[in-house]
Symmetry: C4
């Protein structure tokens, strides 16, 4: 095991795609941090299928179309974004680069996109939004009960966050990384005490799950803010229906990058049925497994309104900070544009189911 | 080939799942013993598919369900078990640890579960049940004829065993391990003489199979005891129907961990049709291939009333004796609870076919 | 590359299946000979699928059946064989052991089976049948024209061969092994001169294929002998129908062990449709890919009346001569018997389609 | 990394198929050149599936057919070719051998076939056709606008090229090899200036795609020549219909050897639907993934009128110049002939869908 390589100050030569940052990032991170970033839960079956599922979808070249006016702009909750690539909420970004979440925020802004800041950010919400120079999105985790959750939500709203993404798929925090002393979830209060368990009570059911949000909390939360509010971590169409019926503005089809329930389906496999259930009554965002612009195109073709990317932008962050994140976004967008051009697609709206062939067809 | 590592006295650090015991066990067992434990028959096709088949089944996360009252309790033949994880009958457990079957029995009891003691136990039935401090189950092998079989059954009943599992899928004992002098099937009489064969008679048909139980013996056996009586090693629905029609209390869908007929289907692949054939008229237990709590969940979702685990608890036994077995059970139960929590399932009864997606769907 | 190991004089220890002879054989053969024996044509796609296809078929254990009278006897063209395992015609067997075809013949006889001697045998037909001590089968290759072919056929009949297997699937002899001076096709005349080709004529069409047998030759051949006559190398049901309509007694479904047309289907995949086409009007034998007794069972379940094995018996021959061949046959038969016993099958006739599950079901 | 091996002057020993040239070529090319030749775009998913798809198609041996008059001749646009194997347009062939495109042209002629010379040839069109000693085909790339394109077309026509293949599937030239100073696209004018982009304009849409041909240009081009005119790079049946309706004489079903849009379907997978759409109203040629004569047979069976081969002939060129190219063609033709002979096919026309089985059947 050699020394960690130092962070770079300029974009490295020869990078052709986001994946080219992977080895550069690994050389710059402690093995435990690298493992924490990349790992999936259990036997990594879901992690693996998240990526593979994209290969089962084919893109059909359609040369000679007129795409001279092509562009990747979308409008989401009133904001125009230059492209549909949003940076997913990932905890503790100072693990990867001293500039942490601020670097990601600056990069998202520079590329005309968005960052969703995690409840577990390692910098203050205010600091990050200042660095961004634009309103950001805030990812909310349930804080054991309603008052504590409301407090965190209000802080984000006050800080100027303009959309809230409520993540519901990770109620149980399993064995994770041992954070260095200098890094913590600075925006959170000390956690509420873990429920005292009777003998024969279950840590899972009577402990963690007693502190997890339930459907009635979801209804309650909707009433607490008039900002655009999304639920992240939906894979079942029935849950999608309920979320939309509760008045949410949208949802994120996600399996948390394969990090929670191993054996969960590939996120992409769940997308089409949810899109048809939501049927335009809210926005359907997508994440888990996207690694290049062709993957983005496929998710959009299956009905997503926009996508979130997770690990790939952290590879850029770990290598060269904000510059790296911006470069990853740019690479993804370029690949998306090329895929659009080669498939004869001039706008995001034109990326439809007819543009692809699935092995299931 | 280095020295064997010594058994541990305390649970090792860093174990996250039963599979983490595998390498620790291997380092503590002679290669021939390890091979005997792990091997499948033939080209190991069945062994392999036993494990892989679980990956073709997907678990659907259902966040926000109310599972605060969740638990894993089941009732089986009048006994309440804290969880549906039963230790399968495995022969000669002193091969793995000096405390042998007694250690497994103590662990099962400590974890609120059950052990099914093999006919080929390396400690006396009485000794094991004493160590257990609770009634256990007894796995019966046919002893070449009715009187000999009855004698063994009676001994188990007298010793206090409370349920009998009659294993029928291994009539032919093929080349197996050379037992050390100190280890033997202490509960068995000297085997009856092997049938004398005429020239051109077959060792298989006229030898082994002449000493194997037949359907009429199954009917006879049912009449010999009023204890709960199960047949282990059923894969064909027609056989399941016959077993139940003969008045048996249940059966174990099992291919003996891939150790008998190579090319037999994955045990899990046979489960649904048998469940629907039995249709509640008896208990359907399941084994072969379970390695974690998600696998347990899948077997239950496909209709099993409880599961047996084989090799994984031996990994714990070989590493750290009764403590290791107990730890393996606890890990499996924790994973089962987490899977239940994440899929919105508050009781074993709620683990139904709707909770999963099979690649065949 | 070390020295070749010497042939053994007694059966080696620890052999559990035919495949265990493979490494022992390889150590005893020159690489070029080994390669010639094992190779498939082209990219070996057919060779590979020949073996893999068996794994897609499942055997269903049926314990408790009464198989005490079980046996593997069959009757083929009036002869009773102890088992349905026939040694396929393989050329030049003195390449593998000095005792050559005679050793195989003795082994087949000792085990109550049959050997089909190749046109390309490296010992005289008379010598081999003498060693056998029983009538054998003769595999006939077309000898460029009718008179030459008839001459070879008559020699075999005179020598006492009792059935003729006419191989039609290898009209083109591609680059093959360079035979040592001492080994040759001793039963053949010098080949007829290769057709003189005009410029722009094709070696394939105007050369090889001009010397290959055609359907009218097949009709002619049938008229030349009243012995049981089979065609070897049929994969299309239409060809099977024609063969039977011409009055042949049977055929061998075979792709020549994957040695001729790469890309041909697995032989087993072609079997069921041919069986249903022939529909009892002739015997359907099978070869290509069988490696153990379970494979034999599967081929019989799909409708074959008997099977031929190729390379596996040569592994035995190359290791320990006639003893090795006999041992391989015995191992295959033992496995077949065990498979029958475990699936509740008391005779070859009872091995039917219902006994198996195909992945295609 | 050792020295590059020198080019050979005679055909090397022991070559059995085109693929045997691959290692010999690699040893004779700089890694960057080798990589440029072999690479696919993106994650090489399309490159990989181009080759694998052939293995999913089975050839059915049909022995005893009368193929003594068999041949591989076809007539294409009035020219009789000895076989249906055309050399695909590949840029900059002096990268592989000093004799460059001229060597390929001579070989094509010697073998009674055709070469399609690339717009990016590294020798003049006149030089190559002189070396060929016969009229060749010319592959036309759009030259940013109509006048420039017309100029190039006219030069080819004047030079004596007899058919034009207009490649439309590669409008975006991505990062490619750095050509040595001595090698360039000698037949092209300096490219037109790249469009000046406004801030926030896209290099892809407003740059590359503004210089790409559109359907109206395709109509225009048809009017510029009465030579046989084909479009290369069609995968969607709707595009095939449009091409034919515009009066084109044919098209090439191709994904450019997996070098443009990664994720595009295997070229072979698109062939049948296009064949049935074109329905004889034009010629359907095929390329991408062919590596041997069996692959050619499969493409023809799925409806192609002829095939183009790419990388394999360059392996021959890189090893031994024109001799190597001629040898590769001859090997492919021999394999095609053997496949025809073994499947009972006497002419290219007889190679039909009934001759093969697809895994999808
Ligand atoms: C290291 C890491 C930390 C994460 N932290 C959070 C988090 O704090 N909140 C959250 O909602 N999702 C979190 N996620 C999930 C991501 O938001 C996103 O769903 C996932 O990374 C998408 O999959 P991908 O990495 O394959 O693109 C995290 C993911 C990773 C890899
Ligand atoms: C080493 C070993 C010994 C076994 N001995 C017995 C036995 O004595 N009686 C019995 O009914 N099953 C026996 N089995 C089968 C187990 O009861 C059980 O069916 C199997 O191990 C389940 O598969 P698993 O190991 O994949 O969980 C044995 C299995 C193994 C691995
Ligand atoms: C080395 C070798 C030589 C063969 N020679 C002949 C032959 O002379 N005549 C013939 O009909 N088949 C010949 N065959 C084909 C076999 O008869 C048989 O069809 C094939 O080996 C069956 O496949 P298997 O090896 O997978 O069992 C030969 C096969 C091999 C491997
Ligand atoms: C190195 C290389 C250069 C190529 N240059 C051209 C070209 O200049 N024009 C063109 O139409 N196609 C070009 N192609 C695509 C080929 O014409 C052809 O479609 C492809 O090589 C077929 O796939 P294969 O290599 O698998 O046979 C090129 C392909 C390669 C590998």
């Amino acid at each position: 095991m050699g020394e960690l390589l130092p962070k770079l100050a300029t974009i490295p030569e020869g990078i052709q795609s986001a994946a080219d940052y992977l080895p550069l990032a690994r050389e710059r991170l402690l093995p435990a941090v690298w493992h924490y970033l990349e790992e999936g839960s259990g036997n990594q079956v879901t992690l693996h299928t998240n990526n593979c599922v994209f290969d089962s979808i084919r893109l059909i070249p359609r040369p000679m179309a007129d795409v001279r006016d092509g562009h990747t702009r979308i409008t989401l909750f009133g904001q125009t974004l230059a492209h549909p690539v949003i940076l997913a909420p990932l905890a503790y970004q100072r693990l990867y680069h001293p500039h942490g979440e601020s670097a990601s925020a600056m990069a998202a802004n520079a590329q005309g996109g968005q960052l969703c800041v995690s409840s577990l950010a390692s910098q203050t919400l205010e600091e990050i939004i200042t660095a961004a120079g634009q309103p950001l999105w805030f990812q909310l985790y349930w804080q054991e009960d309603r008052p504590r959750t409301l407090k965190l939500l209000r802080r984000a709203v006050t800080a100027g966050y303009q959309a809230i993404v409520f993540t519901v798929d990770a109620p149980i925090k399993q064995a994770t990384i041992q954070l260095p002393a200098s890094i913590s979830a600075v925006n959170l209060d000390t956690p509420a005490p873990f429920p005292a368990l009777l003998p024969h009570q279950s840590q899972v059911f009577n402990g963690w799950m007693a502190q997890a949000p339930r459907w009635e909390d979801l209804a309650w939360l909707r009433a607490q803010t008039s900002l655009p509010l999304l639920v992240k971590g939906i894979l079942h169409p029935e849950d999608a229906r309920k979320v939309i019926n509760l008045g949410y503005d949208g949802l994120v089809v996600s399996n948390h990058g394969g990090r929670v329930l191993d054996g969960a389906p590939a996120s992409l496999a769940c997308l089409p049925e949810i899109v048809s259930t939501v049927s335009g009554r809210g926005k359907v965002l997508f994440d888990s497994g996207i690694r290049n612009g062709r993957d983005i195109y496929k998710a959009l073709a299956l009905g997503a309104d926009a996508v979130l990317i997770g690990r790939p932008y952290i590879w850029g962050l770990a290598t060269v900070g904000a510059l790296g994140v911006a470069h990853v976004i740019r690479l993804l967008r370029d690949e998306l544009e090329m895929t659009m051009a080669l498939t004869g697609t001039a706008s995001i709206r034109e990326i439809t189911r007819e543009k692809i062939i699935s092995d299931r067809d």
